[in-house]
């Protein structure tokens, strides 16, 4: 019975809905701000703290997560009526783990430096609750195209937050962005690097400040 109940569409569907209708656009835009996986749902904090030291690995991580979340959403959504309900979590995990391993292998073959920097954290995408959360909450009950959009939404929502954190950490921790020494370039030779930003505590504080600003603006309160 369980798969049938999941079949119920969340919103009533019309026959000839455009590929980017207003309802569908919300799948992408909502996670960027009002329903952000990191700042509102407070998921995926572990990797957000660990890999946001510099911009370059953070960007690679964002792309990896985006790839995994979009494709696992797609695969689970396509097979949602075939997946036995009692083993669905295992199946979701298997799909995520396979995609993550694939990303890891490709990184190792084509981007070895980054593979060494990200090392274990690429593997830890498997345990990133954002992805499991989207599969269970969305892809199991929605059509493929909607799931892809939802994947992009959550992926970008995750990406822009960790990129924002990495921006401040690399800027103040190393005085550079993507390895380019910003402060030297604008003529400040002796910019003191902030040691706090280099530690995960710095990431905690920046995420905290982002959450603070965002919730002050939106008035969101956790109940």
């Amino acid at each position: 019975m369980a798969t049938e109940t999941l079949e119920q569409p969340i919103v009533k569907k019309e026959r000839s809905e455009s590929l980017l209708s207003k309802r569908r656009r919300k799948f992408v835009t909502d996670p960027l701000n009002d329903d952000n996986p990191i700042t509102i749902q407070v998921l995926g904090i572990c990797s957000a703290l660990a890999i946001t030291l510099k911009m370059e690995p953070t960007l690679v991580m964002s792309i990896a997560v985006l790839f995994v979340i979009v494709f696992s959403n797609l695969i689970i959504s396509v097979f949602r009526n075939l997946i036995p309900n009692r083993v669905r979590i295992i199946v979701q995990l298997a799909v995520i783990a396979s995609l993550v391993t694939l990303v890891n292998e490709v990184l190792k073959a084509y981007y070895y430096d980054m593979y060494k920097v990200l090392s274990v954290y690429v593997g830890l995408i498997i345990t990133n609750c954002i992805i499991m959360g989207r599969l269970e909450a969305f892809a199991m009950g929605n059509k493929a195209w909607d799931s892809i959009l939802d994947g992009f939404g959550s992926g970008f929502g995750y990406a822009w937050i960790i990129l924002a954190v990495a921006f401040f950490r690399e800027l103040f921790g190393f005085g550079s962005l993507f390895g380019f020494e910003v402060f030297k370039a604008i003529g400040i030779e002796n910019f003191p690097n902030n040691g706090l930003m280099v530690t995960p505590i710095g990431a905690f504080m920046i995420i905290g400040i982002i959450i603070w600003i965002q919730r002050t603006k939106s008035g969101y309160v956790e109940h």
């Binding site: 009692r86 396979s98 060494k116 274990v120 530690t199």
Partner: protein, 242 residues
């Protein structure tokens, strides 16, 4: 609809086979390229012990031009063929596998860094040991006087980021440059990291370098692998010095 057990089992089996097959194909397909990358990385760190390697450099080209390699055993005798008679190539020796053997049975690669006139400028020796969480390794380059450290690179598998992982940073590795591994009497003393960081420069002599704050055990691991491998290479170094 509650699926039958048979359906669940068959579904699981098919999923496993499909996903497993997919990953095997990816792994086999990407294998050769990964091997090249690993080789490139090793050669980069060998060269990194004696020179600055830029991202854009033709690492393999410089390596072929500058590095000559040989393999020795613990007595310092050159090993050219293995038991079956096949030639031993220093680049193909896994330090990790050899580390598991007793020191007397290991093979020790030596990488000779040649200057422009073809003379040996530095001896680059691989080192290997245990850090806090997992193995650490590196290359130490001895100057042609065979006692001054010309450069060192260290790497690690799982040391704590920001603490022990700092052994992979240039700033830490450059502390070893110019230090001496033998005392004036010719006894091996190696170079060790002190406990704690920010030790007064007066307290450092030619055999000690500043330590790592919060990473005493990793630093001790570095000390041990340096000491151990310099001992293992001692007979070879004495042989070429005489």
């Amino acid at each position: 609809m509650q699926q039958s057990n048979a359906y669940i089992i068959i579904f699981s089996i098919i999923t496993t086979i499909v996903l497993g097959g997919l990953l095997s194909v990816a792994s086999v397909g990407l294998g050769p390229r990964q091997k090249v990358q690993v080789e490139l990385d090793t050669k980069k760190s060998i060269l990194g012990a004696v020179m600055e390697v830029q991202k854009t450099d033709d690492v393999l080209g410089i390596y072929d031009q500058k590095i000559e390699s040989l393999v020795v055993d613990i007595q310092g005798n050159q090993v050219e063929t293995d038991e079956s008679g096949a030639p031993v190539v220093a680049e193909n020796i896994s330090i990790e596998k050899n580390y598991k053997l007793p020191p007397e049975e290991r093979l020790y690669p030596v990488f000779l860094f040649k200057g422009d006139n073809g003379e040996v400028d530095a001896y680059i020796l691989p080192i290997y040991g245990n850090g806090l969480w997992d193995v650490i390794w590196g290359f130490v380059a001895l100057d042609k006087d065979l006692k001054t450290i010309k450069g060192a690179v260290f790497d690690h598998r799982g040391e704590t980021p920001g603490l022990g992982a700092r052994i992979a940073e240039d700033a830490v590795q450059s502390r070893f440059v110019g230090k001496e591994v033998y005392d004036p009497n010719g006894t091996l003393v190696s170079v060790s990291m002190l406990k704690g960081e920010g030790n007064a420069p007066e307290s450092l002599d030619v055999h000690t370098v500043d330590g790592l704050a919060g990473a005493t055990i990793t630093a001790r691991g570095v000390n041990n692998m340096l000491q151990n491998y310099l001992e293992h290479y001692q007979s070879y170094l004495q042989k070429i010095a005489s």
